[in-house]
């Protein structure tokens, strides 16, 4: 039995361009079979009980199997002129959708998992940053995050101290804002949209809104794919596969403040699909 508050959230289920190109997608959402296809020019998501609520945003199709508790979260940067919007595609990962989001919020792993790209020893220290649960938008935000990166983006020339902001906008969707190598007055925006196929299996759809007029599309996609494949080797080897929400099962430090807030936020809202509540 899936909690109503879980059913009332929005989840990514397809890349919009693929459905619009006539590719029907037979997939799963929260353990139930669904089909995403085009009917008379409109994208339709059908489950066993009939049509699901659908919206299209940020290159992806979003579905809500229950009664939507709110509109899909905004990403204002998506409509800023001059940004390149990049649909990266899909990476299937055998892990809890919540673990996939939590890993996206983590910086301390950069030197070890994305070695010489997003981080490198001896630059391993995570400086204190700020985390809050914003009551107005009901989102988790981490700000004033900084980290030394050898190659922060496809367009980077060398090592820089990158600034980050992280935002959990939905139970299985997060957005990060990071220093744009080409512009001092704007952030690059990268989203991770996670489709919960089941509690222990997910499709991860990275998405980007960048200021980068130079890098070929294929290279931008290849760069992000490389990063997420490195993450997958971690995510498929964490025990347990579900995200533990009760303290005691895992040991966080100050560097994990975002993860701690994300777990608290999930627990408080009863968004426990993909979570383990009691230590095994």
């Amino acid at each position: 039995m899936i909690a109503q508050q879980v059913l009332n959230e929005w989840y990514p289920v397809a890349m919009a361009a693929q459905i619009r190109a006539g590719q029907r997608r037979v997939t799963q959402l929260l353990g139930q079979p669904i089909t995403v296809d085009l009917q008379k020019g409109a994208i339709v998501v059908t489950g066993q009980g009939g049509a699901l609520h659908v919206t299209e945003a940020y290159g992806h199709v979003w579905a809500c199997p229950g009664a939507p508790a709110h509109d899909l979260f905004p990403i204002p940067e998506a409509s800023e002129p001059g940004r390149r919007l990049v649909d990266v595609g899909v990476v299937r990962v055998k892990c809890s959708p919540l673990r996939a989001v939590e890993n996206f919020l983590d910086i301390a792993h950069f030197p070890f998992v994305h070695t010489d790209v997003l981080g490198a020893e001896p630059h391993t220290e995570v400086n204190r940053y700020e985390v809050q649960i914003r009551e107005d938008s009901d989102e988790v935000w981490a700000t004033k995050v900084t980290f030394y990166q050898p190659q922060a983006a496809k367009s980077s020339e060398g090592g820089i101290v990158t600034q980050y902001m992280y935002r959990v906008a939905a139970p299985t969707a997060a957005v990060l804002y990071k220093t744009c190598p080409n512009r001092t007055d704007a952030w690059d925006v990268i989203g991770i949209f996670v489709q919960p196929l089941s509690e222990e299996l997910c499709d991860v759809w990275p998405w980007m809104a960048l200021y980068d007029d130079v890098s070929p599309q294929a290279e931008l996609i290849a760069f992000q794919q490389m990063i997420f494949l490195q993450d997958r080797s971690i995510l498929e080897n964490q025990i347990p596969r579900l995200l533990p929400l009760d303290p005691g099962m895992e040991i966080p430090t100050q560097a994990d403040l975002t993860s701690i807030a994300y777990r608290r936020w999930l627990k408080k809202r009863g968004l426990t699909y993909g979570a383990q509540m009691v230590a095994a």
Partner: protein
């Protein structure tokens, strides 16, 4: 179940500075050898975020987790957290240790409080480890010359000649691993082929 020594690998497959996955009675382990050769077996899980330590890396006398680089030293105590270089990790951050012994070219594991030595396997030399997707009954059905339960012994035919073999049985989540040792007079290539053939025949018993 009575605590007992279980073979988890062959010494030749674990050089200095290397970590590998092991199992003891349903527990996943990280088995590793330090730069100076010290062998240790730990619970295969970093207490920080649950990552398998068998995917980690050995540096000197320590094993580090591949996820966030947390460093563990003798007896599983956390020595260093790279995200907080100035911090001395609390003594409570510890990975559970298992007993680990090396004898006759075989690596054995048991619970930390296990007394005594692993069983001796004499007259044979380490050959190779092989993983099977079947159970022990299928192995014994495929090769009636073998007898035993945790340690299978017997004289089997290789290239038309009878040779002693010893198979150390390790149960793991996916089935069985057999750590094979062969008689001193056996040709290692022929013995290795025999093991491979046994695996195929045993797995076919299940399929049939």
């Amino acid at each position: 179940m009575t605590p007992r020594w279980t073979a988890t690998g062959l010494s030749q497959d674990l050089p200095k500075g290397v970590v590998m996955a092991g199992h003891w009675m349903g527990h996943d382990l990280a088995v590793w050898r330090s730069a100076t050769g010290r062998l240790q077996a730990w619970n295969d899980r970093c207490p920080h975020r649950g990552m398998r330590l068998s995917h980690g890396f050995v540096r000197g006398e320590t094993l580090a987790c591949i996820y966030h680089g947390w460093v563990y030293g003798a007896e599983g105590g956390c020595k260093h957290i790279p995200a907080h270089p100035a911090l001395t990790p609390p003594a409570t951050i510890t990975v559970t240790s298992f007993a680990c012994a090396e004898q006759d070219g075989v690596i054995w594991v048991a619970p930390a409080d296990m007394a005594g030595s692993p069983p001796a396997v004499s007259g044979v030399q380490p050959l190779r480890s092989v993983s099977l997707t079947c159970d022990l009954a299928a192995v014994l059905a495929a090769e009636p010359a073998l007898h035993g339960q945790d340690i299978l012994r017997g004289t089997v035919q290789m290239d038309g000649q009878g040779h002693d073999v010893c198979l150390l049985v390790q149960h793991n989540p996916a089935g069985l691993t057999l750590h094979a040792l062969s008689g001193l007079g056996a040709n290692k290539v022929a013995a290795s082929r025999w093991v491979e053939n046994l695996r195929r025949r045993a797995e076919m018993k299940v399929a049939a």
